[in-house]
Structure formats: C-alpha cells, structure tokens
Symmetry: C2
Subunit: 499 residues, 2 copies
Amino acid sequence: MSTSSEGPVFADPRRRATALRELRKAMTAGAVDTADEARRVASLDTCRLAHLPEAVIRPANDEEVATVLRLANRYRVPVTARGAGSATTGAATPIRGGWVLDLSGWDEIRIDAVSGYAHVGAGAINAKINEAAEKKGWFYPPDPSSKGYSTIGGNIACNAGGLRAAKYGVTRDYVVALEGFLPTGEPVKWGLPLKKYVSGFNLRDLWIGSEGMLGVVTRATLKLIPAPETRATFLAAYKDEAAALRTVREVLKARLVPSILEFIDRQTLDCFLRKHEKAGTLGSLPFRVKAGDPAPAMLLLEVDGDAGQVRRQKTAVRELLGAKALWLRQARDEEEAEALWRIRRTCSQAMFQMGDTKLNEDIVVPLESQLPLLKYTLEVRKKTGLATPTFGHAADGNFHVHVMFDWGDADQRERARESIELIMRKVVELGGAITGEHGIGLAKSPFLSLQHTEAEIGAMKRIKDALDPNGILNPGKMFEPFDMWLQPRDRAWRFPWDH
Amino acid sequence: MSTSSEGPVFADPRRRATALRELRKAMTAGAVDTADEARRVASLDTCRLAHLPEAVIRPANDEEVATVLRLANRYRVPVTARGAGSATTGAATPIRGGWVLDLSGWDEIRIDAVSGYAHVGAGAINAKINEAAEKKGWFYPPDPSSKGYSTIGGNIACNAGGLRAAKYGVTRDYVVALEGFLPTGEPVKWGLPLKKYVSGFNLRDLWIGSEGMLGVVTRATLKLIPAPETRATFLAAYKDEAAALRTVREVLKARLVPSILEFIDRQTLDCFLRKHEKAGTLGSLPFRVKAGDPAPAMLLLEVDGDAGQVRRQKTAVRELLGAKALWLRQARDEEEAEALWRIRRTCSQAMFQMGDTKLNEDIVVPLESQLPLLKYTLEVRKKTGLATPTFGHAADGNFHVHVMFDWGDADQRERARESIELIMRKVVELGGAITGEHGIGLAKSPFLSLQHTEAEIGAMKRIKDALDPNGILNPGKMFEPFDMWLQPRDRAWRFPWDH
C-alpha cells in the first residue's frame, strides 16, 4: 500500500505526463482538456483556495470513468470529481493536482411520476430536478441556497441540507440508490429504486457525505414526495436574540413543524439596514419601529400543507410568534411573501460592508444551546473585534456564523483565525457539530479532531484505505489538517453565480 | 491478519477456555453466564438455526463491553451481540460459538419532549419507545410486526421496516445518533442528537443494517415526529391479485400517501377462511360474497393525519379502492377498525395448516413488478406443489412471500429449497431486493451474490476487514454462504412470543 500516515505518495511530474498521454489515447477526442481556462475553472470552489489540476476530464460514458480511475490507480494520479464547484470548504479543489473528473455534463433528469422517483445524472442541477418533479405534481425538498447552480453529485458529496430540513430532511433522506465507481474503477450500484432495502452493507449512505473520497457517483435515484398545496409566510422582529430564540423554543415545543424557521441576528440585520437605508431601498417594512432604534433580531417562518392544515397552523403560529415580538407580519399573497423573504435572501450579500472576506461556518447546536451559542458569538466579536453576523435554520439548530474581515490586513486575518477557532471549540463544547451541511473539505480539516475521537477518525481512515488503497480519490481533504491561512485565496475569480 | 477468504481463524477450545477464565476475572459477578438454560436461549433466533455459545455475557456498563471485545480480539473468540432474538434470518445465532453479548437489559428510554428525541439503550423494546413517546405527544413510527418484543438494537441491526414505511420510513430514517464500540473495543459515537450533521464519514448509517458485524450498538438517539391526530381504516376485497394490485397502482399514482396499504393474496385468505370457517370464528365480514365463492385477494388501507386531512382523503380512497372491489368496508370507530385489522394480524398464523414450517421471504419489487411477482408465486406453487401464500406492504413493494411445507418430509424440503431459489432469482430479475427489512444473516447468505456484483461484495468485505481485522464480530454471516437445509431447525424451542 502506497499510503502512509503522511498521506498517499503520488506520481512525479514525468510519470504524470506519461499517464496523461496514455489517458488521451484511451479517451474520446475532446474528453481530456488541458487548456488553461478549463484548468483554472476546475482549480477552485467557492472557498477560493485554488490549485491547478493537470487536466479536466469530461467522460463521455461509464467506460471512460472506469478508464480514468484505472489509469489513475496504475500511475498514482490524484482524481477529484467535480460538479458546479459551489462547495464552500475547498472540497472540490484538486489540492494535490492531478485530474479533475468533471461530471457537470451528466445532467439527465427523468421523473417516474407513478412511483415518485427522479432518476438523475450526477451533474443535474438541484433546482432543475425539483422543477421537473413539480411538473408532474411531485416535490424534491432539499434546497441548499446554491440550489440554482449546485449539482446533485455535489449535494450528495456533502449531504446538502437547506432551509426546509427540519420538516423535510436533507439530501440523504431522499437518495434511494446510487450508481458509480469504486476508487479502483469497478462499477457499483448501492441500493435500488425501492423504498425498503437491507441487502449487504449500506455503502450508499457511506458514500453520501463522504465528499467524493470513497467513490465516484455518476447517477442517483431520488425519492419524491407529493408537493404541499399551499403555504403561509410570517416575518417577526424581536428586540434581541434571546427573545427570538425563546420563541423558536416555544414553536418547537408546541410540536408545530414549520417548513421554514429562519433566524437572523441583530448584526446581520444591522448590515442589511445600513446598506438599504443608505441606498434608499429599504422598502416599507418597519425594521426599526422608530428612527434610531437599534436593528432587531428576526424570525422568518413558513408553514405548508393542504389548505385546512395551513389555516389551522396559522392561528397557533400567530400566537406563538407574536408573544414576544416587536412586530409580526403575515403575507396575504405570494408577492407579500416574497417581500418578507427579501431580508433573508439578501442579508448575506449585505455583510460585505464589514470586510471583503466572509467565512461562513455552518455549525449545528442542540435546541437548548442556541441562545448560549448566539451569546458566545457576541463575546467573540468583543474579544477579536471582528463582526460575527449569524443567521440560519433555527428549527434544526443549523446556524451560519460568519466572520467578516479584510483579507489584506494581516492583523485582521489573525483575529479571524482566532474567531473561527473559538467558535468551533464552543460548538463542540455545547454538544454541537462543526458542520451541518457543508462538510469538512480543506477549511474544516483542522477541526475534525475536535469533533471526533482518535478511534473514530481511525475507523474512517481505515475505511478510506480499504476502498481507495492508493489514496487517489480527492486526496488532501478531511484527514490531513490544511492551514488555509497560509494560502492566499483566489479572490479575482468570478463564479457564474457571484453577485 | 488472521482472516482469510475462508473466514477468520478462531481460538481452539482450550484457548477459548483460558479466555473465558480471564473474562470472568475481569467482569462483575454474574455478568458471565455459562448455565445451560442461558446458553440455549442465546443459541438461536426465530429462524431456529441453533448453535450453543460458550457463554452469555450481560455487561454491567460500557467498560465491560470494551473488556469483552478486547479479550475476544486478544484470544480470537467470536462475539455475537443479541437483543430479544427475534431476527428471522439466523443473524443472532452464534454459529461459530463463542460469546453472546446480551444487551437486552440495556433498556433505558428517555424522551426529550421539547426537541423530539428518544434517547434509548440498545435493549429498549420498540413498542415501549413509542408508548413513552406517545405519553408526551410524540410518535416513533417504525413498527415491525415484532414491535412488542424486538429491541431497538435488533431493529438497527437489520434496519427494521414495518407496515407504515411507505409513508413514515424505516428505522434508518429515525436514527440520528449511535453510541457503541468498534469490533476492536474502542468506544465511538456516530452522529449527535442533531438534525443536520456531516462531519467525517457516516459510520452511523454504515452500522445501521450491518447486522451486528461492524460494531456493537449500546445506545441510540431516535428522532420523533408529532403523532397524527386520527386515522381512517378501510378493507376491500378483490376477485384476484391483479385487481387488487392494479388498485394499489391507482392509489399511488394519485399521490395519496396511505399510512398503511397491506395486500393479502388469495392463498393467504384461503388459509384464514378455512381455519375460521371450521372453528366457527369467522365473524361478520362477507369474505365470500356467497357460500362456495373462492377466497378473494384483499387490501387493508389506512390514512392518517389531522381531522381535515383524513376527511378529504377518505373520499378519494373510497373511490379508488372501490373501483374494482367486490366489496369495501370503512371502519366507523376504533372497534370496527380492529375488526378489519383482524385478518392481517392473524393470517400469518393461519398458514400453519399448510405445513409445519414457514419460510418468510421479505422481498421487495418495484411497483410495476408487483403483479408479475404475484403471478410468479403461483407458477412456483404449480411447479413445486408447495403453497406460496403472500401478503405484505404494497405501498413500498415489500411482500412477504411464504413457502409452507413439512420439515420432516425430505421431498417437501427439497421442493421448498427449489421454491425459495426460484423466487429469489425472479425478484432480482424484476429489479427487486432479496430482503427489505429482515437482512441477510444465515438464511439469505446463499443469495447475496444474486443481488450484488463481486466488486460490490468485495468492497463490503474490505470494510468488514478494515473495522474488524480479527473477524470476531458475528462471524459466519452474510458473506459465507450457509446451507440452512443441512442443519435441522430447533423446532422444540418456544419463544415468549410464540402463539
């Protein structure tokens, strides 16, 4: 075995060149792209930690995927599978070079409207799957905020969540079958388009969330559910995080299951207000009850279901949301619902007033730790002097804690690093998870050992070695602590989805 | 590594005796039980393939579980974890002897009524978890027919399903965190009581359904959901399987999501009718519209939810179920609902008129293959001359195909073996699964290679070797084809739940 505790040993540049020549011969014309532009695109994800691969490969069929993996194993060349590149952790960065296996073209979507399944290629875009499902009266619920451009392959790699997870679950809850390749190149299928299946060990769920390190997913079958008939949308303002989060607790305790329960802290809202007050684009919502009032904390809540269910839930929601609120709005129609959503949809972008770099930590804490966590973000802010605006999915405790700073300022960079470390330690101390829907990748690799014991990490690594004996698949991630502060971010690159 | 393609090599009897002496010294008094009665209880599950272990161990605490596993590894002694012993496949049989780790006493149940979690020990009984949840307004949906006596540890080992899976999912869908031990004895936790979590590889779901071969589960955290307010129950009779299964298709196509949709074939109903007509205990339902009519096929359907939802669904259900029915009954109250359920609850027992031995194959087929499968069971009946009564969970395609015969009759045994092989091959040919909720264990080990390719099984075995290098945990299962026809079944043993 060529792996060691220092990680796998890869081919030297000369041998890599030989491997690439052989690959070209074995593949259809145009499948192997070594142009600068293609390599640049494939060098990074939205974490902006970039490393150029030697080639981008767009396989024409299953046999070509197998060929890539077989040659990569023979010559010891790293292979990193890629969809849109919207990962936030560097998980899609080919940090050891080698070949990027671009599956974004594998984007077929076929809906089985009788059984309620979507049969999709790894490159199918999340939102397009739901659009195709909706045309037949079905619904694919997982909705990461990247849904307009992220691929299902990437969603599976990091078990993407989204806003509706507390009611509808995450990607894992909808994947019934995967098709793809072992790191060593053999085709495999895990699961079938069936709602019950326990034959053999469950490698389907081992692959989901394994960040492309245990196999290459080429196709998936997703379970669909009947689309909810209607929804009701509420926005409420609270004097502080404590009042908002105590309200969250009351909503959950009442066993209401909102489809959306988004929390926005005062720091986030303050960014939003300052941006839009300056630009005169604030709109008519009374964010500050009177001029000069501080920014409130907020909750955005939706219930969905059939008309009767939504009607009955509305009454309970109004009472619970309203009890501690400064004000509460309920949308009367879709247009008003969109107006209430605006703050949540745009608040992230408004944060760039506070620094040119935003770290977005998708931590999760238990219900009873939500308020302690939010209080701690304010302590961190005080200690490091950097803003820690936080919003997120309160019904499942998945908060996006941000640290805003200027990358060019070495002192701020140092304080940002400190902020993140403090937050990660606190999250684990509170019984939480360092990542709820983004994964580990490069960015969180230094914190893996906060979350897991040596025995747990050892078991994970033994599984990696068992399935990928040469360590060729997405190397350098998760288990090898990466110091992202030593590498400048590729801040010049514009993603298609950048604002 | 002491494993080989022939399976692991275990200690000889003398060395096992030394290991047992050392174990006794290390454990609290009474934890190691070598009495005949205890060993007999632990020798089998409901598959009745028996093998005596050398000792039954009831660990007092976590440290003792670790001790058992460490010594077992040092001396190479097989360890088989056990709950109630209600597995149907021989998965709980210590077929290589050694030590049975009895966790049935680890039965604590604690409900977190605010966050909606049940924190349970591996020995907690399924139905008791739901009872505890219901007291606080919550609901634990997975309901295998063994729910009154099977433990959550066993449910997790085979990813138990049940009647409500098509609407509510299976055990896997409710397990958010597991606590336990690697085969080598290190304590581990997979997941946390959180609704989002993607840190590291997902060994939680690898453990679920791995039939006690990859680790020992000691505790679990289960997600609960709000209990449905009410339900409506329907029973409908059809002239044959085709009419009943076409109705299933219409129900699913209409995107109704029944909480129960049980199918019962004519052979099953015929057993039930003959038994109860003879005994004069048939009750008032018009199973045969007029005397002498053949037994019909049947569907039992329930919808649940809040009062409004159930009301609206009822109208649709009546129309869809009634379209092809000989007759249709709707329960007006709980008592009538129980009367409609009687056939489903007791039909399995009625089959013993047709033979003293019942093989219960929990296969799964896609919706479009339901009717072809049922037709094939009749072909098999014709070919082998043995009855193949079938019922099951039509909404998820999980049918229990039974083969009834007399064990003592060598010719019937041979034909039973042929029946099972024919059915398994057909299931895979139809795109189905050889097991939906029971697992592989011993009984289905000869068919694993029908379901999975060599590469798939190879990956599973490499994972087994990676986590259990000495192969001590539940050896002899899944990957080592076991010929259950060569070993007499322990037919004398009475389980507490035997009728």
